[in-house]
Amino acid sequence: MLEVRNLKKYFPIRSGILGRVVGWVKAVDGVDINIEENTVAALVGESGSGKTTTARCVLKLHEPTSGKILFMGEDITKLKGKHLRRYRRNVQAVFQNPFLSLNPRMKVEDIVAEPLKTHTSMSKKEIAETVKELLTKVGLPKDVLRRYPYDLSGGQAQRVAIARAIALKPKLVVLDEPTSALDVSVQAQILNLLADLKEEMKLSYLLITHDLSVVRYISDYVYVMYLGKIVEAAPTEELFTNPQHPYAQALLSAVPEPDPRLRKLKKRIILPGEPPSAVNVPPGCRLHPRCPYAEERCRREEPELVDIGNGHLVRCWRVSS
């Protein structure tokens, strides 16, 4: 349904009075993603991995530097007018902090009604009815209609954001760290809500997060990104039980585990140092300065994504040879 092909997004670095371009931040450097109907694909990575930029390209908040994004076979970068409107109806988003993603001067009822007013020719009455239904669907009581976002709790505000995103019955919803800003006891509520809505409305999600535990709970397929490239991709359980790329392994082992018994089983791989900036991308394999298994070949040549079966792709010389 949604296909991202060799997406690249470079941001120019300007300097001097005339703003000459002196370098490029290679935020996304050749990414391929495939999302089918009614599935959840997760983009995982740390800061600087390029996952957020990729999502923003899918949402057409950025213009790609090169590459294609196809929705139902159509290249969205060339969309205009009526076709663009159709894309907007079908692809929506829920952002991390609901207090920042909801206009603080708008009432809840107006926030949720806005997409309906913009894209449909429904009457005022019909819209009001639909808004009430949507609120019920996301588990909010009717008395929040007249309230402003700052009157709500974090969980309630995020539900409003979800209601707004599903108002037009989209095919794909981009979830950008949907639970990171919420309290622990509320995160589960929202995750369950998202899972239920997915089934009920046959939605697809593109989940952007750094939290691997959320990924394991609701995703079907996972893409692990490092410094602008996908280094490993696999169906969820496959990735979590059998990670191949050293970065994916390190990422997984770094997640703190509350259960002491499981903790003892966890293999501890700590990557030294920090990821370099996307301006000075290391030659060869991007992880080689930090990788415990780095060899000569890793320093010279950048490996390709190799399919090792089961829909499992890895970009690593150690694995592909």
Binding site: D211, L252, E274
Partner: protein, 330 residues
């Protein structure tokens, strides 16, 4: 009194109650919390927002804002630090107890280099006068926190260092006065997960090496498990459960702790269906009487409207819940 392994208590909170006076009402941040931290022990305060965990940390470090009112006692090696003034106070604040914050940039003044700020602390709190000696101590500390090229770090300004390096540097600053107790207020929440693992590892190592006691504040049970010997679970200002990390995580007694563990998604195990806790956290300006978890608890009874005291159900494992009244001693 000594604990199970004969260690003396270093910090004791007795009936600690802290209120903030604000324009929109009185916020009851901490309500009647009693807790003991022993030497070389790391205790985790775990809770969500409004639990009071950060407030307690700030109170122990004597860093509360002016609109806070503290009642009860905070005993550091037997001395009530809430009553300290003048000379005695300056010997305590920033010297015996040190604090690391969530945002390392909050620790540093952007106008001075790391070296200048560290030498201030070392000179002031360790009384070292000789410049060379001060520099030697600073470099030693920076090496201890795993910073390569300490000389360069000393000369750098805070904005020149990355987040991870800055957090390490702030740990070095916190260790400069040779404190006995280190308070860490969500020190890894703003960091990427691999960096978080590095910092947690570092803190565990330092704890062993330097024999520090730690008061670690976090909302993440996994982080608590990685770093702490004991865990104290706070909810809406009250202490609900306290025990060794293993006891609390493997055998949670309080319904809230149990529910909390059930509603956290896991990366290292497949969870079929996540349970969630219905309802929302109570308003800290209007806390309900009795057990604060009662409105959301599915085991609630009438007796819950009166807050039960902490009962020691098993050795070293205390819980404040009507389910266990009459089971233990103390």
């Amino acid at each position: 009194m000594s604990g199970p392994n004969g260690r003396k208590p270093i910090l004791e909170l007795r009936n600690l109650t802290i209120k903030y006076y604000t324009l929109t009402g009185i916020v009851h941040a901490v309500r009647d919390v009693s807790l003991v931290i022993r030497e070389k022990e790391s205790v985790c305060l775990v809770g969500e927002s409004g639990s009071g965990k950060s407030t307690i940390g700030l109170a122990v470090a004597h860093a509360l804002p002016p609109n806070a009112r503290v009642s009860g006692q905070i005993l550091f090696r037997g001395e009530d630090v809430t009553k300290l003034k003048g000379d005695a106070l300056s010997k305590y604040v920033g010297k015996k107890v040190s604090i690391i914050f969530q945002d390392p940039a909050a620790t540093f003044n952007p106008l001075f280099t790391i070296g200048e700020q560290m030498s201030d602390v070392i000179r002031h709190h360790r009384g070292v006068k000789d410049k060379e000696e001060v520099k030697r101590i600073a470099i030693d500390l920076l090496k201890k926190v795993g910073l390569p090229d300490p000389e360069r770090v000393l000369k750098s300004y805070p904005h020149e260092l990355s987040g991870g390096m800055l957090q390490r540097a702030s740990i070095a600053v916190a260790l400069s006065p040779n404190p006995e107790l280190l308070i860490a207020d969500e020190p890894t929440t703003m960091l990427d997960v691999t960096l978080q693992a590095q910092i947690l590892d570092l803190l565990t190592k330092l704890k062993e090496e330097l024999g520090l006691s730690m008061l670690f504040i976090t909302h993440n049970l996994g982080v608590a498990a990685e770093v702490c010997d004991r865990i104290a679970v706070l909810y809406a200002g009250k202490l609900l459960e306290e025990g060794s990390a293993e006891d609390v995580l493997l055998d949670p007694l309080h319904p809230y702790t149990k529910k909390l563990l059930e509603c956290v998604p896991r990366a290292h195990a497949k969870v079929q269906k996540l349970r969630h806790i219905p309802g929302t956290l109570p308003d800290p300006r209007n806390p309900p009487p009795g057990c604060p978890f009662q409105p959301r608890c599915d085991e609630a009874r009438d007796e819950c409207s009166k807050m039960p005291p902490l009962t020691e159900v098993r050795s070293g494992h205390r819980v404040a819940c009507v389910k266990y009244l009459g089971e233990g001693g103390e």
